[in-house]
Point group: C2
Chain length 263, copies 2
């Protein structure tokens, strides 16, 4: 199913994929121009699959970052009363993130898991029973469901950071950029990571994120994902990155992109 949408000045076609892996591979093989994939969540941490594929399996560049607050709503067909709901269906993470609301307002309802919140909304829209789904406002609109209660998630600080991936490196400096790299320090050198971070510190470059992932060789060897302030073409950032690359056994620039601004 393709949806149309307007991005900046362009009309684009939106195509959903069943899994993050399929989506990233579709971008890598050129079946789609760009992929929007999750990188990290403020509660659950990194999306390991995305990081591992970016490091090991594909050759894609980050063109943008997008931060979206996770907002869960209780959705039902029109005319259904909150007090009569018998079953609540959603993705297990969404059910978990709305535990306090469900315990207070729907203690009698049975909880049913679905493969995604969108799938849950679809099931509820197609059923004749007193079911509700937990999902977002877009799902409510697509499946013509009513929002019985909004923002029912337990923790308001639930946000997910996505990146836009594409084959081409289309980045240009905007004045407030970040650069993402992944590298594996040369082995058997105590303090090597500290020396690599030093390249940023001595140039006053802020690191907004350091994430480690197993190198998948032996236990105790890691890849590091670093997000540094500045565009990769800025002299200071470029010099720091070059020094890190020189002291790494594996190194990749994942891309430079504009820092996300809250709207």
């Amino acid at each position: 199913m393709l949806h149309r949408a307007r991005m900046a000045e362009q009309e684009v076609l939106l195509q959903p994929f069943g899994s993050i892996m399929e989506l990233i591979l579709a971008a890598d093989t050129g079946k789609i121009h760009q992929a929007v994939v999750p990188l990290e969540n403020s509660l659950e941490g990194p999306v390991a699959l995305t990081l591992d594929m970016l490091a090991h399996e594909v050759d894609l560049k980050m063109a943008a970052e997008i931060i979206i607050s996770v907002r869960h709503h209780l959705l039902a067909r029109k005319g259904i009363d909150l007090r009569n709901i018998e079953k609540v269906i959603s993705h297990p993470q969404a059910l978990g993130q709305c535990r306090a609301f469900l315990q207070e307002h729907l203690p009698q309802a049975e909880l049913i898991t679905a493969s995604s919140t969108a799938e849950a909304a679809k099931v509820v829209a197609g059923s004749n029973d007193k079911w509700a789904a937990i999902g977002n406002a877009a799902a409510a609109a697509v499946y013509q469901l009513e929002i019985l209660a909004s923002d029912i998630q337990d923790n308001r600080a639930n946000a997910t950071r996505f990146c836009v991936l594409g084959k081409e490196d289309c980045s240009h400096p905007t004045g407030d950029d970040k650069t993402s790299i992944v590298f594996s320090p040369r082995r058997n050198r105590p303090g090597i990571l500290y020396e690599q971070l030093r390249e940023f510190a001595i140039r006053g470059i802020d690191l907004t994120r350091i994430e480690s992932r197993p190198a998948k060789s032996v236990l105790g060897e890691y890849l590091f994902f670093i997000d540094a302030a500045g565009h990769k073409t800025a002299p200071d950032t470029a010099a720091a990155i070059e020094a890190v690359a020189a002291s790494s056994s594996f190194f990749k620039i994942l891309g430079s992109y504009a820092r996300w601004k809250e709207e």
Copy 2:
């Protein structure tokens, strides 16, 4: 179900738990003396639940680390031939880790998921069909199954690091120790993590692991888990740790313990 085992000079009772969370809480509330929980795997990375509970929810000390190579075997009831197997049942990760073997030797077999490899062995032991389980040698012994093929995992470098957790801090220096800490650097200070790592580097203290987890407050704030060489009572390690604690808004020593030695 309790099992007896001998550890060092002592006889101990072993009690299985259904989930990591229950196990950690049982140790924290004193229902059991010690818990053995997974910390990280060489392919899958950190066990987020363990790290998050150690940081936020419980007050437990690491008393030891244990590294176990993951070895998967194909298990069936006696008399079943490899070529006749119709279904293979195991935990999804074990099925995934033996994909090459299954494709080569059992391309016709249906793959069925179980909640654990032990559960899979139990199901196979209780069935009269031509089923096989993927599990370890202990499961084969407990459920009296035959090992039809051993070490069928794709990647030989698959190892999991566990820690032993208890209420009491029973650590004493052994001459080759590690100390695990978790901390959150004070906010709004570019380069603060670099300065904290510097405390170890200037003292020549090797860091064997740096792992970040979301602070669960807002996106972009992190806790760092660091494993440093040396016992927390060694002057250099103690001084570095003290300096890190002083520049952190959150700080916890998770414990000092002997470095794991391959047998």
